[in-house]
Assembly symmetry: D3
């Protein structure tokens, strides 16, 4: 199963134009090691991402999701500690964090702060999604989610859109203009 | 007192480059009439504002603030009802709503979603503020608030700023790009 | 518009096998009168419903919805006050209250406590829904909601179902058996 | 002390007609091992319980309670992972979870969703309770809790009852009929 | 009924050593008039109470309770508005507000911040309570509440006490010493 | 860096008249060992503090803070377990816990329950603070926080004060008098 999942993930990443790195932690149960944290800190510092996407903070259906979110957050913080693997030349700013929508948002305390218009990339997303053969029953589910978030996006903005994604921000947005 | 407050408010508005319209409701206690709601609906439709600034939804220290926020919200909704003073030619989209920071944010359930960098307009804001002679004891208070929100803005974005304002969004932000 | 809505509502009620009574309050803005409250109290006492369905308690998009929910709740309570239109022969027990799902559940603080399997009545519901010509754009929206709630129902119960409705309970369920 | 507690628990279980299995973890502080999780997963799969009773999710007075609740939840999820000790013949559905009432419910964020009428089994419960000699001061406390929950149950349902237990559901109830 | 309630309340007030003033508002439904607010403002200014006791802010079982709490709060605020019936000689400071425990605390969002030891006055309270003949079924209920809050008070403080009352503070406590 | 921090902390403690003991855990990431918990339990039992000051329960900017708060709480509970290092002669009562104000209170779910007037000790606090050379940019920040909490304290109590500290209580206050 694991091998197949790896292959599928790599194929999906390719469609999305993404690089992927596996940590090879088991997920039933998922347990995080100091080595994983350390590697993720390094990745933050190397990649300097513009933003981070991770799971909701709570999810009574999936114990591995909040744990992964916790790891993503802790590594983000440790990465900006000057005292961790000190290097005066390093420039790193902790990026904004966005939580993506869980399967049952209200049970996870998920509240959308942002609706992202994904009309232009929907076809690509759907193709990547269809790689995950084991989750075929979820293809239609998440297509419906995207359509409904799209309609909500239209209602909130007054500009029609078809497909949307909902995100919760973990930190306040800093801006020079209200919009 | 009322006359003086009017004059001060007009002077402050002038400094800010704002137009002002008084509803002349008493505020101890503030009571909202259907006529005020109706007038505010018309203003929304005429002005078509890009966003609305109003009070926090709860404030155990100021019963008039949440009531004003409620009026601002209800008028915003009624304004988009085709059935209210129908006019097929009308184009109106309900604007985003931002709650500004109350005096004791935690007691009002206020949680900042946005920190606005106001460095460029700080001097103007302070001048407008200093018109309000009766609230002289608050000048320094709110200057400290602005400096501390500025430091928080810097911490959240990684880009230094001096003065900030905190806002809570009432509706999800709709966007084409995560940032 | 009002006449057409009346006609549609009556037609939909017929399909559902429901009786309907209009209070003829305007809805932009909706205002509740003592007479409406009084009439609703009488209806509770006459009908003695097994349960009540009403709107979510908060809805920043629809000020009339929470107000209607408030009326439904207050009338339910007044109906059991012995001192209101006293009648020693009256037997009335305040029924359970269920809030149905609003358009944007997370923005309304709506959290599902119950998922109702509606597979057997789906066709009827859809037919009733299709009467509402003005809300045609919502037909597909709510069909997707029903399909997704159905999948969630299956996930929560372990028994497959296709269409579901989500409800929030206002009061604890009293039962003789945990299930 | 431990020996005595074992004996008491077994005696109480006998009165209740329950089977009991000790994990022999210390509880000041309680620490959970992978072996315990693994054993609990097996128990879920063997017993296929109709529901699970566990502690509140938070309890600032008892650090072992939320930890036990976490273990109960995580094992419930792992038990349904096909990849954990794979066995194609296995049929297992994760059961509903009910949190029972902690000593100081409001401090633990406990909110009753269900009030269970326990009139018929009260005598048995009280007998089992009285086995726990060390907690004698709590016998009357929990009897009062049961009487007050009973009165609340009566108020919520309109049907008199004497003894009640309050539970919080962790997942939505899936049903074919609103009640 | 009203006459009897008046007489009982006066008798209970006498036992407690309290003065009482009736506003004679109906309570099914309770409606607040400007005159009541005005009278209550005057009372605040005359009595200058050390603290205020009122109902919980929400109560889905009793619509009159939150409304009374709202009135108590609004009058408290208006009382300190210099512009309302101006009198330069007036000295008035808005007092702390404590919410007492509702019948079903968790359903009302009630969270105890304070547990008051009432051992010394319990007998008096019980006597006052027993005047309310119509609520006889509640005597034992509230005695059990007092005993359980007493045991919680003992657990929180480490000093045994028998009877307690739970309160929620509406405003932060200002103090010169942590305790 | 660590050596310097130690020296500064000792110097600051001296100014405050405090004893200090270092646990020498790293803080990027902070990890708690059973030995630390055990030592902290002993300290509770030896010192029998009147109250405990610790960090907020959540802080998305500082993963070590909530972890330290968790340790402070768990040790406080274990310290009162008779079964942990039994000693019949021991007298220990778990003390009240106060959370001090984090850098961004609203992002940490921090809600002030107590405002402490620190006018008399402000000079000493500021001197201790100025020892922390690395956090020089925070001196003015926290001075502003103290001034604003002071003004809030004045507003809540009606008695002017200049410098304040805000605390959140973790447990209800037990008292013999409402104030």
């Amino acid at each position: 199963v694991k091998t197949q999942r790896h292959a599928e993930s790599e194929q999906a990443a390719k469609i999305l134009g993404a690089e992927i790195e596996f940590f090879d932690a088991g997920d039933y149960p998922l347990r995080v090691t100091e080595k994983m944290l350390d590697r993720l800190v390094d990745i933050y510092r190397e990649v300097k991402p513009s933003f981070v996407l991770t799971h909701a903070l709570n999810d009574p259906y999936n114990f591995d999701h909040p744990l992964a979110a916790h790891l993503a957050q802790e590594a983000r913080i440790v990465a900006q500690a000057a005292g961790h693997k000190p290097d005066p030349a390093r420039a790193y700013t902790a990026p904004p964090v966005f939580l993506f929508e869980p399967h049952q948002p209200e049970q996870c305390g998920f509240k959308p702060d942002v609706i992202l218009n994904i009309d232009e990339v929907w076809e690509t997303k759907r193709k990547a999604f269809e790689i995950l053969a084991a989750q075929k029953h979820l293809w239609e589910y998440y297509t419906r989610v995207a359509l409904n978030r799209g309609m909500q996006g239209g209602r909130n903005s007054g500009k029609a859109m078809t497909y949307g994604e909902a995100y919760q921000r973990l930190f306040p947005m800093v801006t020079e203009e209200l919009q």
